[in-house]
Protein backbone atom coordinates (compact mmCIF):
# COMPACT_ATOMS: atom_id res chain seq x y z
CA UNK A 1 0.00 0.00 0.00
CA UNK A 2 2.89 2.37 0.77
CA UNK A 3 6.33 1.76 -0.67
CA UNK A 4 9.29 3.90 0.29
CA UNK A 5 12.51 3.56 -1.61
CA UNK A 6 15.94 5.06 -0.90
CA UNK A 7 14.55 8.07 0.87
CA UNK A 8 17.00 10.74 2.03
CA UNK A 9 16.34 13.93 3.95
CA UNK A 10 18.97 16.28 5.31
CA UNK A 11 18.46 19.29 7.59
CA UNK A 12 21.55 21.50 7.39
CA UNK A 13 23.97 18.57 7.13
CA UNK A 14 22.04 16.49 9.66
CA UNK A 15 20.78 13.28 8.10
CA UNK A 16 17.22 12.96 9.35
CA UNK A 17 16.47 10.11 6.92
CA UNK A 18 19.27 7.97 5.56
CA UNK A 19 18.41 5.70 2.65
CA UNK A 20 15.13 4.52 4.08
CA UNK A 21 13.48 1.54 2.31
CA UNK A 22 10.15 0.38 3.67
CA UNK A 23 6.96 -1.33 2.69
CA UNK A 24 3.57 -1.13 4.36
CA UNK A 25 0.68 -3.51 3.61
CA UNK A 26 -3.02 -2.93 4.05
CA UNK A 27 -4.64 -4.47 7.06
CA UNK A 28 -1.63 -4.14 9.33
CA UNK A 29 -0.76 -1.96 12.29
CA UNK A 30 2.87 -0.95 12.21
CA UNK A 31 4.57 0.70 15.17
CA UNK A 32 7.40 3.07 14.36
CA UNK A 33 9.89 3.15 17.21
CA UNK A 34 13.16 4.89 17.89
CA UNK A 35 14.78 7.36 20.28
CA UNK A 36 14.02 11.09 20.10
CA UNK A 37 15.32 12.60 16.90
CA UNK A 38 15.65 9.28 15.08
CA UNK A 39 13.55 10.52 12.16
CA UNK A 40 10.10 9.06 12.84
CA UNK A 41 8.20 12.31 12.43
CA UNK A 42 10.30 13.25 9.41
CA UNK A 43 9.39 9.94 7.77
CA UNK A 44 5.67 10.37 8.42
CA UNK A 45 5.75 13.99 7.23
CA UNK A 46 7.47 12.86 4.05
CA UNK A 47 4.60 10.47 3.36
CA UNK A 48 2.19 13.39 3.81
CA UNK A 49 4.26 15.64 1.56
CA UNK A 50 4.83 18.15 4.36
CA UNK A 51 8.55 17.48 4.21
CA UNK A 52 10.14 17.16 0.79
CA UNK A 53 13.03 14.71 0.65
CA UNK A 54 16.12 15.37 -1.49
CA UNK A 55 16.06 11.99 -3.10
CA UNK A 56 14.09 8.76 -3.11
CA UNK A 57 10.50 7.93 -3.90
CA UNK A 58 7.29 7.24 -2.05
CA UNK A 59 4.50 5.30 -3.70
CA UNK A 60 0.99 5.23 -2.31
CA UNK A 61 -1.15 2.58 -3.96
CA UNK A 62 1.47 2.26 -6.67
CA UNK A 63 1.51 5.96 -7.55
CA UNK A 64 4.49 8.21 -6.93
CA UNK A 65 3.41 11.05 -4.67
CA UNK A 66 5.86 13.55 -6.15
CA UNK A 67 3.88 16.53 -7.42
CA UNK A 68 0.62 14.83 -6.46
CA UNK A 69 -1.81 15.93 -3.78
CA UNK A 70 -4.96 13.91 -4.39
CA UNK A 71 -3.52 10.82 -2.69
CA UNK A 72 -3.97 12.62 0.63
CA UNK A 73 -7.69 11.89 0.28
CA UNK A 74 -6.75 8.36 1.31
CA UNK A 75 -4.88 9.43 4.43
CA UNK A 76 -6.00 10.45 7.88
CA UNK A 77 -3.07 12.06 9.71
CA UNK A 78 -2.66 12.96 13.33
CA UNK A 79 0.46 15.10 13.72
CA UNK A 80 2.71 14.99 16.78
CA UNK A 81 1.65 18.54 17.63
CA UNK A 82 -1.73 19.52 16.30
CA UNK A 83 -1.77 22.87 14.55
CA UNK A 84 -4.99 24.69 13.78
CA UNK A 85 -5.62 28.38 13.20
CA UNK A 86 -5.64 29.92 16.67
CA UNK A 87 -8.43 32.41 16.12
CA UNK A 88 -10.96 29.97 14.69
CA UNK A 89 -13.60 28.08 16.62
CA UNK A 90 -13.55 24.29 16.67
CA UNK A 91 -16.78 24.35 14.73
CA UNK A 92 -15.20 26.49 12.00
CA UNK A 93 -12.13 24.28 11.75
CA UNK A 94 -14.40 21.28 11.28
CA UNK A 95 -16.39 23.09 8.66
CA UNK A 96 -13.28 24.03 6.68
CA UNK A 97 -11.85 20.52 6.75
CA UNK A 98 -15.16 18.95 5.77
CA UNK A 99 -15.41 21.48 2.99
CA UNK A 100 -11.95 20.48 1.74
CA UNK A 101 -12.61 16.76 1.85
CA UNK A 102 -15.99 17.19 0.25
CA UNK A 103 -17.26 13.84 1.49
CA UNK A 104 -20.88 13.24 2.37
CA UNK A 105 -20.47 10.48 4.95
CA UNK A 106 -18.64 10.90 8.21
CA UNK A 107 -17.27 8.42 10.70
CA UNK A 108 -18.32 10.59 13.63
CA UNK A 109 -18.12 7.95 16.29
CA UNK A 110 -14.93 9.54 17.64
CA UNK A 111 -16.57 12.97 17.65
CA UNK A 112 -19.01 11.69 20.23
CA UNK A 113 -16.64 9.50 22.20
CA UNK A 114 -13.96 12.17 22.48
CA UNK A 115 -16.59 14.77 23.36
CA UNK A 116 -15.74 17.17 20.54
CA UNK A 117 -19.22 18.66 20.47
CA UNK A 118 -18.69 20.14 23.92
CA UNK A 119 -15.92 22.33 22.56
CA UNK A 120 -17.62 23.42 19.32
CA UNK A 121 -17.90 27.04 20.37
CA UNK A 122 -14.42 27.33 21.84
CA UNK A 123 -11.63 28.96 19.94
CA UNK A 124 -8.56 26.86 19.22
CA UNK A 125 -6.34 29.05 21.40
CA UNK A 126 -8.71 28.42 24.31
CA UNK A 127 -8.24 24.64 24.13
CA UNK A 128 -5.90 22.70 26.40
CA UNK A 129 -3.16 20.66 24.76
CA UNK A 130 -5.10 17.46 25.41
CA UNK A 131 -8.28 18.91 23.95
CA UNK A 132 -6.38 19.80 20.78
CA UNK A 133 -5.09 16.24 20.63
CA UNK A 134 -8.64 14.96 20.97
CA UNK A 135 -9.83 17.17 18.15
CA UNK A 136 -6.90 16.05 16.06
CA UNK A 137 -7.65 12.36 16.74
CA UNK A 138 -11.30 12.79 15.87
CA UNK A 139 -10.44 14.52 12.59
CA UNK A 140 -8.01 11.76 11.67
CA UNK A 141 -10.75 9.14 11.64
CA UNK A 142 -13.56 11.38 10.40
CA UNK A 143 -13.31 10.54 6.71
CA UNK A 144 -12.89 6.79 6.98
CA UNK A 145 -9.53 6.98 5.15
CA UNK A 146 -7.79 3.78 4.07
CA UNK A 147 -4.48 4.85 5.58
CA UNK A 148 -4.26 6.15 9.13
CA UNK A 149 -1.01 7.77 10.27
CA UNK A 150 -0.67 8.62 13.94
CA UNK A 151 2.34 10.43 15.42
CA UNK A 152 2.37 9.74 19.16
CA UNK A 153 -1.42 9.76 19.33
CA UNK A 154 -1.86 9.05 23.02
CA UNK A 155 0.74 11.52 24.31
CA UNK A 156 -1.15 14.11 26.33
CA UNK A 157 -4.51 12.33 26.25
CA UNK A 158 -6.31 11.38 29.44
CA UNK A 159 -6.53 7.61 30.10
CA UNK A 160 -10.15 7.31 29.02
CA UNK A 161 -9.52 9.03 25.69
CA UNK A 162 -6.28 7.10 25.17
CA UNK A 163 -8.02 3.76 25.77
CA UNK A 164 -10.80 4.74 23.49
CA UNK A 165 -8.35 5.68 20.76
CA UNK A 166 -6.49 2.38 21.06
CA UNK A 167 -9.73 0.48 20.77
CA UNK A 168 -10.59 2.49 17.70
CA UNK A 169 -7.23 1.70 16.10
CA UNK A 170 -7.79 -2.04 16.53
CA UNK A 171 -11.29 -1.74 15.18
CA UNK A 172 -10.15 0.14 12.08
CA UNK A 173 -7.61 -2.54 11.34
CA UNK A 174 -10.36 -5.10 10.93
CA UNK A 175 -11.73 -2.94 8.11
CA UNK A 176 -8.53 -3.65 6.21
CA UNK A 177 -6.90 -0.28 6.79
CA UNK A 178 -3.21 0.37 7.09
CA UNK A 179 -2.29 2.03 10.37
CA UNK A 180 1.15 3.46 11.09
CA UNK A 181 1.71 4.70 14.60
CA UNK A 182 4.73 6.08 16.45
CA UNK A 183 4.92 5.80 20.18
CA UNK A 184 7.32 5.73 23.10
CA UNK A 185 4.99 3.59 25.20
CA UNK A 186 6.12 0.00 24.90
CA UNK A 187 2.92 -1.53 26.21
CA UNK A 188 1.08 0.14 23.33
CA UNK A 189 3.29 -1.60 20.82
CA UNK A 190 2.52 -4.91 22.44
CA UNK A 191 -1.22 -4.21 22.54
CA UNK A 192 -1.60 -2.82 19.05
CA UNK A 193 1.12 -3.60 16.59
CA UNK A 194 1.47 -6.50 14.19
CA UNK A 195 5.07 -5.56 13.68
CA UNK A 196 7.42 -2.74 14.52
CA UNK A 197 10.09 -0.77 12.75
CA UNK A 198 13.01 0.50 14.77
CA UNK A 199 14.81 3.63 13.60
CA UNK A 200 18.05 5.15 14.78
CA UNK A 201 19.72 8.32 13.46
CA UNK A 202 17.58 8.28 10.33
CA UNK A 203 18.23 4.66 9.47
CA UNK A 204 15.91 1.69 9.68
CA UNK A 205 17.57 -0.82 11.99
CA UNK A 206 14.85 -3.41 12.40
CA UNK A 207 12.05 -3.75 9.93
CA UNK A 208 9.77 -6.48 11.11
CA UNK A 209 10.34 -7.03 14.77
CA UNK A 210 7.69 -8.36 17.13
CA UNK A 211 7.05 -12.11 16.78
CA UNK A 212 10.66 -12.88 17.54
CA UNK A 213 10.65 -10.63 20.59
CA UNK A 214 7.25 -11.76 21.81
CA UNK A 215 8.34 -15.36 22.17
CA UNK A 216 11.63 -14.57 23.87
CA UNK A 217 11.34 -15.65 27.48
CA UNK A 218 12.51 -12.44 29.10
CA UNK A 219 9.41 -10.70 27.82
CA UNK A 220 8.53 -8.13 25.23
CA UNK A 221 9.05 -4.97 27.22
CA UNK A 222 12.50 -5.94 28.40
CA UNK A 223 13.54 -6.80 24.87
CA UNK A 224 12.48 -3.45 23.52
CA UNK A 225 14.18 -1.57 26.32
CA UNK A 226 17.31 -3.54 25.53
CA UNK A 227 16.99 -2.52 21.93
CA UNK A 228 16.89 1.16 22.89
CA UNK A 229 19.86 0.74 25.24
CA UNK A 230 21.88 -1.05 22.63
CA UNK A 231 21.60 1.89 20.24
CA UNK A 232 22.02 4.53 22.87
CA UNK A 233 25.64 3.56 23.30
CA UNK A 234 26.49 2.83 19.70
Amino acid sequence: MIKISRLNKTYNKLKALDNVDLFFEKGEIVALLGPNGSGKTTLLKSILGLVLPESGDIFVNGKNIKRDFRYREMIGYMPQTASYPENLKVEEVLKIIKDIRNKKEYEDELMKELKIEEMYCKKINALSQGMKQRLSAALTFLFDSDIIILDEPTAGLDPASADYLKMKILKEKTKGKLIIVTTHIISEVEELADRFIFMHEGRVKIEDGIDKLKVQNNGFRKSISNLFKEYEWS
Partner: protein
Protein backbone atom coordinates in the same frame (compact mmCIF):
# COMPACT_ATOMS: atom_id res chain seq x y z
CA UNK B 1 -11.49 21.82 -2.64
CA UNK B 2 -10.67 24.37 -5.29
CA UNK B 3 -8.69 27.55 -4.89
CA UNK B 4 -11.83 29.66 -4.53
CA UNK B 5 -12.92 28.14 -1.28
CA UNK B 6 -9.44 28.49 0.23
CA UNK B 7 -9.50 32.12 -0.86
CA UNK B 8 -12.81 32.50 0.92
CA UNK B 9 -11.30 31.38 4.21
CA UNK B 10 -8.22 33.54 3.71
CA UNK B 11 -10.45 36.58 3.19
CA UNK B 12 -12.56 35.65 6.16
CA UNK B 13 -9.39 35.65 8.25
CA UNK B 14 -7.99 38.93 6.87
CA UNK B 15 -11.22 40.86 7.19
CA UNK B 16 -11.30 40.05 10.89
CA UNK B 17 -7.84 41.57 11.26
CA UNK B 18 -8.18 44.97 12.90
CA UNK B 19 -4.87 46.23 11.50
CA UNK B 20 -6.25 46.36 7.97
CA UNK B 21 -9.05 48.61 9.19
CA UNK B 22 -6.60 50.77 11.15
CA UNK B 23 -4.37 51.12 8.09
CA UNK B 24 -7.30 52.19 5.93
CA UNK B 25 -8.58 54.63 8.56
CA UNK B 26 -5.16 56.24 9.17
CA UNK B 27 -4.54 56.62 5.46
CA UNK B 28 -7.99 58.13 5.03
CA UNK B 29 -7.49 60.59 7.88
CA UNK B 30 -4.06 61.68 6.63
CA UNK B 31 -5.15 62.17 3.05
CA UNK B 32 -8.38 63.97 3.92
CA UNK B 33 -6.41 66.19 6.32
CA UNK B 34 -3.92 67.14 3.65
CA UNK B 35 -6.63 67.91 1.12
CA UNK B 36 -8.52 69.98 3.66
CA UNK B 37 -5.50 71.97 4.83
CA UNK B 38 -3.88 72.76 1.50
CA UNK B 39 -6.39 74.08 -0.95
CA UNK B 40 -3.90 73.74 -3.81
CA UNK B 41 -4.64 70.48 -5.59
CA UNK B 42 -1.18 69.88 -7.07
CA UNK B 43 0.49 70.49 -3.75
CA UNK B 44 -1.82 68.18 -1.88
CA UNK B 45 -1.25 65.45 -4.46
CA UNK B 46 2.50 65.87 -3.99
CA UNK B 47 2.14 65.52 -0.20
CA UNK B 48 -0.15 62.53 -0.53
CA UNK B 49 2.31 61.00 -2.96
CA UNK B 50 5.10 61.28 -0.41
CA UNK B 51 2.97 59.65 2.27
CA UNK B 52 1.86 56.89 -0.05
CA UNK B 53 5.43 56.14 -1.09
CA UNK B 54 6.47 55.68 2.54
CA UNK B 55 3.40 54.09 4.13
CA UNK B 56 2.17 51.71 1.42
CA UNK B 57 5.44 49.72 1.12
CA UNK B 58 5.91 49.70 4.90
CA UNK B 59 2.41 48.47 5.67
CA UNK B 60 2.48 45.96 2.81
CA UNK B 61 5.70 44.48 4.14
CA UNK B 62 4.59 44.29 7.77
CA UNK B 63 1.03 43.18 7.07
CA UNK B 64 2.13 40.63 4.47
CA UNK B 65 4.76 39.00 6.64
CA UNK B 66 2.65 39.06 9.81
CA UNK B 67 -0.19 37.46 7.91
CA UNK B 68 2.06 34.72 6.58
CA UNK B 69 3.61 33.97 9.95
CA UNK B 70 0.20 33.95 11.62
CA UNK B 71 -1.24 31.68 8.95
CA UNK B 72 1.31 28.96 9.44
CA UNK B 73 -1.11 26.78 11.38
CA UNK B 74 -3.83 27.26 8.81
CA UNK B 75 -1.42 26.38 6.01
CA UNK B 76 -0.18 23.31 7.87
CA UNK B 77 -3.72 22.19 8.43
CA UNK B 78 -4.51 22.55 4.72
CA UNK B 79 -1.33 20.74 3.71
CA UNK B 80 -2.35 17.56 5.49
CA UNK B 81 -5.49 17.54 3.34
CA UNK B 82 -5.84 16.88 -0.39
CA UNK B 83 -5.03 20.45 -1.40
CA UNK B 84 -2.45 21.55 -3.93
CA UNK B 85 0.40 23.61 -2.55
CA UNK B 86 0.28 26.21 -5.27
CA UNK B 87 -3.46 26.63 -4.68
CA UNK B 88 -2.71 27.56 -1.07
CA UNK B 89 -0.02 30.02 -2.15
CA UNK B 90 -2.28 31.61 -4.74
CA UNK B 91 -5.11 32.02 -2.24
CA UNK B 92 -2.85 33.52 0.43
CA UNK B 93 -1.14 35.97 -1.90
CA UNK B 94 -4.32 36.99 -3.69
CA UNK B 95 -6.06 37.51 -0.36
CA UNK B 96 -3.34 39.80 0.94
CA UNK B 97 -2.80 41.65 -2.33
CA UNK B 98 -6.49 42.40 -2.82
CA UNK B 99 -7.04 43.42 0.82
CA UNK B 100 -4.06 45.79 0.82
CA UNK B 101 -5.09 47.30 -2.50
CA UNK B 102 -8.61 47.89 -1.25
CA UNK B 103 -7.28 49.42 1.96
CA UNK B 104 -5.18 51.76 -0.13
CA UNK B 105 -7.98 52.67 -2.52
CA UNK B 106 -10.43 53.45 0.26
CA UNK B 107 -7.84 55.19 2.42
CA UNK B 108 -5.94 57.30 -0.11
CA UNK B 109 -7.94 57.47 -3.32
CA UNK B 110 -11.50 58.12 -2.15
CA UNK B 111 -10.60 61.37 -0.31
CA UNK B 112 -9.04 62.62 -3.55
CA UNK B 113 -12.19 61.88 -5.49
CA UNK B 114 -13.87 64.72 -3.60
CA UNK B 115 -11.49 67.13 -5.30
CA UNK B 116 -12.63 65.88 -8.69
CA UNK B 117 -11.31 63.31 -11.10
CA UNK B 118 -7.91 63.95 -12.64
CA UNK B 119 -5.00 62.16 -14.28
CA UNK B 120 -3.07 62.53 -11.04
CA UNK B 121 -5.55 60.43 -9.10
CA UNK B 122 -5.39 57.74 -11.71
CA UNK B 123 -1.60 57.66 -11.53
CA UNK B 124 -1.62 57.56 -7.76
CA UNK B 125 -4.10 54.69 -7.82
CA UNK B 126 -1.90 52.84 -10.27
CA UNK B 127 1.28 53.38 -8.20
CA UNK B 128 -0.37 52.49 -4.88
CA UNK B 129 -1.78 49.23 -6.16
CA UNK B 130 1.53 48.25 -7.72
CA UNK B 131 3.43 49.07 -4.53
CA UNK B 132 0.97 46.97 -2.50
CA UNK B 133 1.38 44.01 -4.84
CA UNK B 134 5.17 44.33 -5.01
CA UNK B 135 5.90 44.72 -1.33
CA UNK B 136 3.49 42.03 -0.18
CA UNK B 137 5.14 39.64 -2.65
CA UNK B 138 8.56 40.55 -1.25
CA UNK B 139 7.16 40.05 2.26
CA UNK B 140 5.89 36.60 1.32
CA UNK B 141 9.21 35.60 -0.21
CA UNK B 142 11.13 36.40 2.95
CA UNK B 143 8.54 35.04 5.39
CA UNK B 144 8.49 31.75 3.52
CA UNK B 145 12.28 31.56 3.46
CA UNK B 146 12.92 32.56 7.07
CA UNK B 147 11.22 30.62 9.85
CA UNK B 148 12.06 32.98 12.71
CA UNK B 149 9.46 35.73 12.68
CA UNK B 150 11.67 38.40 14.27
CA UNK B 151 14.53 37.80 11.87
CA UNK B 152 12.20 37.75 8.86
CA UNK B 153 10.48 40.99 9.77
CA UNK B 154 13.84 42.57 10.63
CA UNK B 155 15.23 41.83 7.19
CA UNK B 156 12.06 43.11 5.56
CA UNK B 157 12.17 46.37 7.51
CA UNK B 158 15.75 46.84 6.39
CA UNK B 159 14.66 46.28 2.79
CA UNK B 160 11.95 48.87 3.19
CA UNK B 161 14.48 51.33 4.57
CA UNK B 162 16.78 50.49 1.69
CA UNK B 163 14.18 51.15 -1.00
CA UNK B 164 12.69 54.22 0.68
CA UNK B 165 15.80 56.02 1.90
CA UNK B 166 19.18 54.36 1.44
CA UNK B 167 18.80 53.68 -2.26
CA UNK B 168 18.52 57.36 -3.16
CA UNK B 169 21.44 58.15 -0.88
CA UNK B 170 23.62 55.60 -2.63
CA UNK B 171 22.68 56.96 -6.04
CA UNK B 172 23.39 60.49 -4.92
CA UNK B 173 26.79 59.44 -3.58
CA UNK B 174 27.53 57.65 -6.81
CA UNK B 175 26.50 60.76 -8.68
CA UNK B 176 28.76 63.04 -6.68
CA UNK B 177 31.72 60.70 -7.02
CA UNK B 178 31.44 60.49 -10.77
CA UNK B 179 30.06 63.94 -11.42
CA UNK B 180 32.46 64.47 -14.34
CA UNK B 181 30.79 61.75 -16.37
CA UNK B 182 27.45 61.84 -18.13
CA UNK B 183 25.52 59.53 -15.84
CA UNK B 184 21.92 60.32 -16.64
CA UNK B 185 21.38 57.09 -18.52
CA UNK B 186 22.73 55.11 -15.58
CA UNK B 187 20.49 56.93 -13.19
CA UNK B 188 17.50 56.00 -15.29
CA UNK B 189 18.60 52.40 -15.22
CA UNK B 190 19.14 52.49 -11.44
CA UNK B 191 15.74 54.02 -10.96
CA UNK B 192 14.18 50.99 -12.59
CA UNK B 193 15.80 48.86 -9.88
CA UNK B 194 13.70 50.54 -7.21
CA UNK B 195 9.90 50.24 -7.42
CA UNK B 196 9.45 53.19 -5.04
CA UNK B 197 11.49 55.44 -7.31
CA UNK B 198 9.73 54.22 -10.42
CA UNK B 199 6.39 55.15 -8.89
CA UNK B 200 7.63 58.50 -7.64
CA UNK B 201 9.12 59.57 -10.97
CA UNK B 202 6.19 58.32 -12.95
CA UNK B 203 3.85 60.57 -11.00
CA UNK B 204 6.10 63.59 -10.61
CA UNK B 205 6.89 63.76 -14.31
CA UNK B 206 3.29 63.40 -15.31
CA UNK B 207 2.26 66.15 -12.91
CA UNK B 208 4.73 68.76 -14.13
CA UNK B 209 6.49 68.74 -10.82
CA UNK B 210 9.74 67.88 -12.57
CA UNK B 211 11.42 71.02 -11.26
CA UNK B 212 11.61 69.06 -8.03
CA UNK B 213 14.03 66.69 -9.65
CA UNK B 214 16.83 69.20 -10.08
CA UNK B 215 19.17 69.21 -12.99
CA UNK B 216 18.66 65.59 -14.05
CA UNK B 217 15.02 66.41 -14.51
CA UNK B 218 15.45 67.17 -18.17
CA UNK B 219 16.91 63.79 -19.03
CA UNK B 220 14.30 62.08 -16.91
CA UNK B 221 11.52 63.96 -18.53
CA UNK B 222 12.80 63.01 -21.93
CA UNK B 223 12.85 59.35 -20.97
CA UNK B 224 9.93 58.83 -18.62
CA UNK B 225 7.73 61.35 -20.38
CA UNK B 226 8.02 59.60 -23.73
CA UNK B 227 5.74 56.81 -24.87
CA UNK B 228 8.50 54.21 -24.82
CA UNK B 229 9.48 55.46 -21.37
CA UNK B 230 5.95 54.87 -20.12
CA UNK B 231 5.94 51.37 -21.55
CA UNK B 232 9.28 50.60 -19.91
CA UNK B 233 7.94 51.94 -16.60
CA UNK B 234 4.87 49.74 -16.75
CA UNK B 235 6.87 46.70 -17.84
CA UNK B 236 9.37 47.12 -15.04
CA UNK B 237 6.62 47.54 -12.43
CA UNK B 238 5.01 44.37 -13.74
CA UNK B 239 8.32 42.55 -13.51
CA UNK B 240 8.64 43.82 -9.95
CA UNK B 241 5.40 41.99 -9.18
CA UNK B 242 5.93 38.87 -11.28
CA UNK B 243 9.48 38.03 -10.21
CA UNK B 244 8.93 38.11 -6.41
CA UNK B 245 5.60 36.26 -6.76
CA UNK B 246 7.25 33.62 -8.90
CA UNK B 247 10.19 33.20 -6.51
CA UNK B 248 7.93 33.12 -3.45
CA UNK B 249 5.72 30.46 -5.03
CA UNK B 250 8.78 28.39 -5.88
CA UNK B 251 10.04 28.66 -2.29
CA UNK B 252 6.62 27.76 -0.96
CA UNK B 253 6.38 24.64 -3.10
CA UNK B 254 9.70 23.39 -1.70
CA UNK B 255 9.24 24.38 1.91
CA UNK B 256 9.32 21.81 4.71
CA UNK B 257 6.49 22.18 7.19
Amino acid sequence: MNGHSILKYVFFDIIRNKWLVIYTAVLFALCSGIIYLSRDETKSIASILNIVLIIVPLVSIIFGSMHFYNSKEFIQMLLTQPVKRSAIFKAEYTGIAISLSFGFIIGAVTPLLFTGISKAIFLLLFAGIFLSLIFSAIAFYFSISIDEKVKGIGILLFLWLFFSVLFDGIILLFYLMFSDYPLEKFTIFFTLLNPVDISRIMIILNLDLSALLGYTGATFLKFFGSASGLIITIVSLCLWVIIPVFLANKKFKRKNF
